[in-house]
Subunit: 474 residues, 2 copies
Amino acid sequence: MDTRSLRYETLADEFAGLIDRRVLGPGERLPSVRRLAQEKRLSVSTVLQALRTLEDRGLVEARPQSGFYVRRRAPARAEPEPRRTPARPVRLDISQRIVNVLQLNARAGIVPLGAALPDTALLPIAAIRRLYASVARRQPDLLRSESHCNMNEPALLRQLLRRSLAWGGPLEAEEIVVTNSCTEAMFLCLRAVTKPGDTVAVESPGYYLMLQLLESLGLKALEIPTDPRRGISIDALDLATRDGREGKVKACLLVANASNPLGTILSDTDKKRLARLLESRGVPLIEDDIYGDLQFGERRPWPVKAFDRGGNVMLCASFSKSITPALRCGYVAAGRFATEVMRQKTLASGATNPITQNVLARFLESGAYDRNLRALRRAYREQVERMSDAVSRHFPEGTRITRPQGGLVLWLELPGQTDTSALFDRAAEENIAFVPGDLFSPSGLYRNCLRLNCGNPWTPAIEAGVRRLGELAS
Amino acid sequence: MDTRSLRYETLADEFAGLIDRRVLGPGERLPSVRRLAQEKRLSVSTVLQALRTLEDRGLVEARPQSGFYVRRRAPARAEPEPRRTPARPVRLDISQRIVNVLQLNARAGIVPLGAALPDTALLPIAAIRRLYASVARRQPDLLRSESHCNMNEPALLRQLLRRSLAWGGPLEAEEIVVTNSCTEAMFLCLRAVTKPGDTVAVESPGYYLMLQLLESLGLKALEIPTDPRRGISIDALDLATRDGREGKVKACLLVANASNPLGTILSDTDKKRLARLLESRGVPLIEDDIYGDLQFGERRPWPVKAFDRGGNVMLCASFSKSITPALRCGYVAAGRFATEVMRQKTLASGATNPITQNVLARFLESGAYDRNLRALRRAYREQVERMSDAVSRHFPEGTRITRPQGGLVLWLELPGQTDTSALFDRAAEENIAFVPGDLFSPSGLYRNCLRLNCGNPWTPAIEAGVRRLGELAS
């Protein structure tokens, strides 16, 4: 991709600004594609790409035979602002608190706003069950004694390579290691490129399980400011990875597509900058793309991996959010670190169950994955919108809400000094789970923030839970 | 178990000595149980236990309605002697060499004397395939979104607890963590109780994958002398774990039942001493019991875990040698370290596939596992004997051979200065795999030793491979 092709982003940013400042109000029609192309001296395809980008960001919607309109609800609520983060890496001491908080999710009858888990009703588990029966019957060789020497089943490898074509791939067969989960993939990557005491750059706020991984490996975390709209600050990362800085950054670990908790999709321009910057600094990027297939717009966003030339990016993913977390199958495309990641996998857990690998391959191959994905994306998007509406109605004035571009969580910033950790304890008494904001920062930022899981279809119980949570927060 | 009950071992040792010195020759009948009980002033049950112990060690055989006889073949070949080991722990640098050596196993048409792998023909994979189909059909809830929050499937837990009754259990439900393999279990245990730079005591010779695990975790290995007949020296371990020693031992990692590569089963007396010693020194024991069900005698040997009172022993096992390595399911009973091991598992790979866990549970429950186990033990025992015979015929005069009490490998010590690493290269050219001895010692002992896999039914190709290997060794 060359720089000229990013003109569409400049145009999209311009319109995003107009919508943000209400120059273009909710429900207003945007100028036609033809007119914009003439006025801006851009090609029709560039203009269309800009409009689709706005659509992906949830700012406009296309109406067939009519054009693009500013979405009615997008600008209604303020979004959280990015925070200042500590200049130095910090040692982590957060694991036990994470364990305690997440335990609540397992309680019977809990209002499930905690862990980012999809409702089983949305998942294609009947099809997966049929495939287990069929694969076990039709592929007798999978359980052969020597078959566990193959880390990757060829059928799954083929599907992973094929799917990567949709987002700027292809991946290389040689760089792939099938794993038991996306978490295992990240764990192996961290083991491959760091040693205890090293510093890893992470988004702030960033996914708590990543912080827990760093803690368990004796690594320090350097928080990089992350804007709810634009994603991680490449400028701050640039500064943090300059030579001579105290506590040299040995790796960067982030979610570029529908980050967790913010739901931001980094722009292609920033992905490209990020890939180039980290490669030039010799800092490997571990990219968690578990939400990559779960964007709210039409286009599957590219991962940073697609902009990587030198094998510096390790792309990690699984199907826990899009098939079922019980499947236990993910992968990493580890670029130039593949040999070391493979060795780590051999030692940490050995090969991944070959029947499960082939079940997944058959499901991807059949087209059923894509069909279910369309329904799932629609469901997640609607559920995030309903959650957002309910928060607007029930939470105190001044509550800020993210506008996720994908995934299944919502991030709130509460007004004033609200302590969401105390709120968590009170909510637990009333059987309502959520994740308090301080879990997303090793330095304890975001004490007035919280994350809500939107993985469940809307029900009166969820509505009641959100209302009650809003009352408790007041 | 109290000390008086170990009288049977004293009697067994006495007879083992008589057999070793040929006071009792091959084919001779031992005195009757009744006579021995009278002469030694022991109970009939103690004498019977002594005779069964001798049987387990492969020294005598029971003939129905007749009595116990010295086995004809046992004393024919000399066994290797234990070696002096370095007094200090060593840093490891062995992983790459292990990877290179094991790669040969994957070559098409190789004579498979390398990795300790059973032949598929011996394994119950048709039954396992049927169970996959049946479990997927009948247990629809296993793939539910929230089911991955359970690390252990209740059905498997129940079977693991039940089976432990056969060897001095029971295990506690709360201490068990189901894993993807025995290797993963050991990896998690090491992560739970050590940090980089720590020293871990291991058998010498000891299983190379354990050494590779230590290396990958930045740990040092302290080799403890291990006698091919009696197993690890508890006296040496006692010395090594005394206070004030340089490089304090933080954990001990070993195979008490059919050790790898020696095939030794530690006596109950030594297991008990070992458990008490390590507990009193505050040194956790990580016990690999993967060969525990594969003894050659009649009685399932107890693991050290059975003699553990304070939760100091972490018992690790899987079904890779007794069902199929492709299953990818093992477990650890982690005693007082269970919470930390569970946490490590959550971070390293998350839960283990619930369908596979239930397939394993159903197989254990049905009795099919035990039926297949009897056939498998017989097969491994016969294959080890045939291999031993063939080595006697084809290898140079002076070659020493272990007399394994279980498992599926044989360990040879070649006479003189034979370098089995050079032998490996020459054998590889002729498509014959084995594992050279230096891989079993971090300090490079055992350069004139090698390990042979006996997991395959005897064929002319294997006979020819062993003959050719013997020629090359001459």
